[in-house]
């Protein structure tokens, strides 16, 4: 999927445990995003990053934190996983956000997380 690698692809964990999902890109894109996909809700933005150490909240950020120490890596952490965080998580990248041709979101293959 266009130079985006998500890991792990599948994870089963128990309520209350910490979980970290990793997104790695080889495109050198400035913007990186974490979305969750749930039936009936489409894709909802959790957090995004507009540069190293620069992050901001999305629509559904409660219970999640992110970090970006390198251009190529964007980590999503669930400090204490809950069953409501069972979902498929997608990382996406884009060159920019302005009115230009570089406004396309490119998605990774997803990470399926099950919290028991």
């Amino acid at each position: 999927d266009a130079g985006i690698t998500q890991s792990p692809r599948h994870k089963v964990t128990e309520t209350g445990t910490p979980v970290t999902l990793r997104c790695h890109q080889t495109e050198n894109h400035r913007y990186m995003y974490w979305y969750r996909q749930d039936p009936g809700h489409g894709l909802r933005l959790i957090h995004y990053s507009y540069g190293v150490k620069d992050t901001d909240k999305g629509e559904v950020s409660d219970g999640y934190s992110v970090s970006r120490s390198k251009t190529e890596d964007f980590l999503l952490t669930l400090e204490s996983a809950t069953s409501s965080q069972t979902s498929v998580y997608f990382c996406a990248i884009s060159l920019g956000q302005g009115l230009s041709g570089a406004n396309v979101l490119t998605f990774g293959a997803g990470s399926r997380l099950t919290v028991l």
Binding site: G40, Q97, L99, F107, G110
Partner: protein, 109 residues
């Protein structure tokens, strides 16, 4: 509150037929309207997109119709094929992207 409302939730079309998926929005600040196609086990991929100053955009069998006054836009898939069976998401952007809830299309042979 969902920024972009998409319908129908699921759609069954015979091979060769026309598939139509509709989306509506309220925020007039949206400046870019893409459609994404997602196959099972894969991430969404950009299919076609339109800006609000254009009423229609066509790429092969895929057409976006855009009605700015009604704040609606739709995806038309002409001559639908079984290979088009996938989930389709509309989206709208103002700084960030807001996605519709998705339409699962099944094209029967």
């Amino acid at each position: 509150q969902q920024q972009v409302k998409q319908s129908p939730q699921s759609l069954i079309v015979q091979k060769g037929g026309i598939s139509i998926i509709n989306c509506a929005y309220e925020n007039t600040a949206f400046d870019y309207f893409p459609w994404y196609q997602q196959f099972p086990g894969k991430g969404p991929a950009l299919l076609i997109a339109i800006r609000p100053d254009v009423s229609e955009k066509k790429e092969g069998r895929f057409t976006i119709s855009f009605n700015k006054s009604a704040k609606q836009f739709s995806l038309h898939i002409m001559d639908s094929q079984p290979g088009d069976s996938a989930t389709y998401f509309c989206a709208a952007r103002v700084n960030k992207f807001y996605f519709g809830s998705g339409t699962k299309l099944n094209v029967k042979p």
